[in-house]
Symmetry: C2
Amino acid sequence: MAGIREIAEMTGLSVATVSHVINNTRQVSKRSRELVEKAIEETGYKPNRAARMLRTQQSKTMAMIIPRVRPGMSTNVFFMDVLSGAKDYLQTKGYNMIVSTYTEEEGEGTDELRDLEVLKQQWVDGILIVPNKKKQTLFADVMESGIPFVVIDRLVTDIPSPCVCSDNVSAAHKAVKLLYDSGKRRIGYIGGSPDSFTGHDRYQGYCDGLAACGLMLDETIVSLSQKHTVRSGSEGAEQLLEHQADAIFVANDVKAVGVLKALNQRGVKVPEDVGVIGFDDYEWMEISSPPLTTIRQSPYLMGQEGARLLLRRIEDPNCTERIVLETEIVRRRSHGKGE
Amino acid sequence: MAGIREIAEMTGLSVATVSHVINNTRQVSKRSRELVEKAIEETGYKPNRAARMLRTQQSKTMAMIIPRVRPGMSTNVFFMDVLSGAKDYLQTKGYNMIVSTYTEEEGEGTDELRDLEVLKQQWVDGILIVPNKKKQTLFADVMESGIPFVVIDRLVTDIPSPCVCSDNVSAAHKAVKLLYDSGKRRIGYIGGSPDSFTGHDRYQGYCDGLAACGLMLDETIVSLSQKHTVRSGSEGAEQLLEHQADAIFVANDVKAVGVLKALNQRGVKVPEDVGVIGFDDYEWMEISSPPLTTIRQSPYLMGQEGARLLLRRIEDPNCTERIVLETEIVRRRSHGKGE
DNA sequence: TTGTATGCGTTATCAC
DNA sequence: GTGATAACGCATACAA
C-alpha cells in the first residue's frame, strides 16, 4: 500500500506538504496541489486510518446504542430504520459506525459492558443512544464518559444534550381526537408501561386528548403492560370489551395486532362496534382486517437528524438542539368514518 | 490515558515484558506477570487499538455486507437476526463489527462503493457477505480484495470459500410433502425469481417434492415474481386459484401474508379448500388467520456459525467448510390436517 | 527470563 | 510557501 511518503517522493515534495494538501490545512501553491492530486490519482493512495487515528486521537467512528428485548434476538425494526438513517448520513461525512445493543432486562448479558470499554478507549468520536429507564446505569456511563452523544427517541430536558424524537404526546392526542370525531365516546387505551419514555408520553397524549374532547378518564378501559406482545394486546382488548369500550387507541402496532385478533375472534365489528388506531405503521399492518389506521413515525429521518445533531454537538459542545418530529396519522379503515 | 509505558515504569519492568504479558506472547516469570496484572488493574489500562492496529496491520474489525431493497430503507429482519448472531459471537472474540448495506437494484446508490474503499484500506480483517445475483460486481470486488470472507445464506460450490446457509431445498421438499400428506393434490408454488439464490433452491425443492409425491409439475399453478411484497402474494394466489390449486407453498412469509389476504377476501377456506405453507416464520405471523404453518430458519445461529467460520478461515486460508443448517417446519393450522 | 530500540503512517510543531 | 522531524502507543527483532 502506498503511503504518504511515496507520494512525497514521487512529487519531489515533502510529506508535510502532501499531508497538507490532503487535509486542506494550510496554503499550498497551485502547482504543488496539482502534483499531489495527480500522484494520488495514479497510485490510488488512501490515507491509513489507523495512523491518522493514532495521531489525532479520533477514530472517525460513531457508535449507536440501541435496546433489544433479550439476548439472542435482534432489535425491533423501528430502530433498524433509525440506524439506517444515521448510518447513511454519517457515511456521507466520512464516518464509520458501529452498533451496540443492550438487553432491556436487568442482569442478563454482560455484553454491553464490553462495548462500553471500547467506547471509552477513545474509539468512538460520538454516540447515538436510545436510553431505557430500566438501564439507567448504561446511560450514566455514557454521560460520564465524556464522549459527545445525542439521545434518540426520547425527549430529554433535564440534561443539556441534543435529542431527537417523535411528538408522541400530540400523536396520541390526534388519535383520540380522530376516534372522537368518528363518534366514539368510550375511548380506551392499551399501551406500554408508563415508566418507559414513549409509554409515558403516549399515555399522556391520550389523557390530553380525552380532556380536549370533554371525556373523562376511565381506568377500567385502560390497559398498561410492559410486554410488547401480540398476546398482551389481545388480553387488553378483552378487558376493555368487558367495560364497554367503543374505541381503542393502541400505542404500539404489535399490540394492535393482538387487539384486532381478539376483536375478530369475538365477532366484534371494526370499526362499527369498536374503532381502533395503532402506532408505528409497520409494513405488515397492511394485512390486518380491517386495514389499520395508525400513527406513522419517521424512523429513517430520526436517524439522519440524530446523526446531524451529533456532528454539530462535536463541533459545538454547547449545542443542545432538540428536535421533535411530527407524526402522521394514516387513515385506513379501523378508526371509523372520522376525517 | 495510561499507556504501556506507564505500566512499565510502575512495575519497574520494560515495555516489552509488559506487552508480552498482555498478549501472552512469550514466557514471563510469574512475578512479572502478577506485577503487570496488578498495575493494569489499578490503572484501568486498556491497550490503544489504533496503535495496535498500525503496528499489526489488522483492525480486529469485521464487516458484514447485506442487501436492502432500496436506499433509505433498512434491511429485512432475517438479516438483522443473522447480524446479531455474528456480532454477538465476534464480540466474545474481541472483534468489532461494521455493517454495510447495498441496494439490490442496479445503479441506485453509489453508497456501497465507499464502504468497499474502507475495506480495502486493510481496515477489516474479514467479511461476512450475503451476495446477490444482481450485484455480482460487489461480490467480485470482495473476492478480489484478498480479504478473507465467508458467504452467508447462499450455498457456494464454485469457489473455495466457506459458507453457511439453510437447507432451502429440503425445506421446500418437506413443505410439499406435508401438503400432500394433508390430502392436497394440486400443490402450487409462489416464490421469488429463480435466479436469486434462495429462490432457485426453494423452487428446486418444490419440484423435488412434487416428484417424490408422484405429482406432475403444472406451471399454471406456479407464480414467480421478484417482488417481495404482500401484493405480489395476493396476485399470485389469484392466479393459482383460477387454475384450481388446492394448496400453495409460498417461499416467503411476506408473500404468504398476501396469499392469505386474497384467500380470505374471496371466502376461500384455509386449510379446507386451500392449504398454505409459508417460509420464514416472522414473529408477526401469529396474527394470520388461520395461523400459518411455515418453515422456520435459524438466522441467529447462521450468523454465529458464519462468524465462527470466518475466524477459522483467517487462521487457515484453506478452510472451505460449508455449513447447511436444518430448517424446522412449524405446524400450525394453515397446512391442513397432515402430520 | 528480560530489556533496548526501531518503525508502523500520519499530523503537527518548528524552523526556514 | 515549504521542509525536517518529533511524537502518537504499541509490537517485535535483536541483544543480553
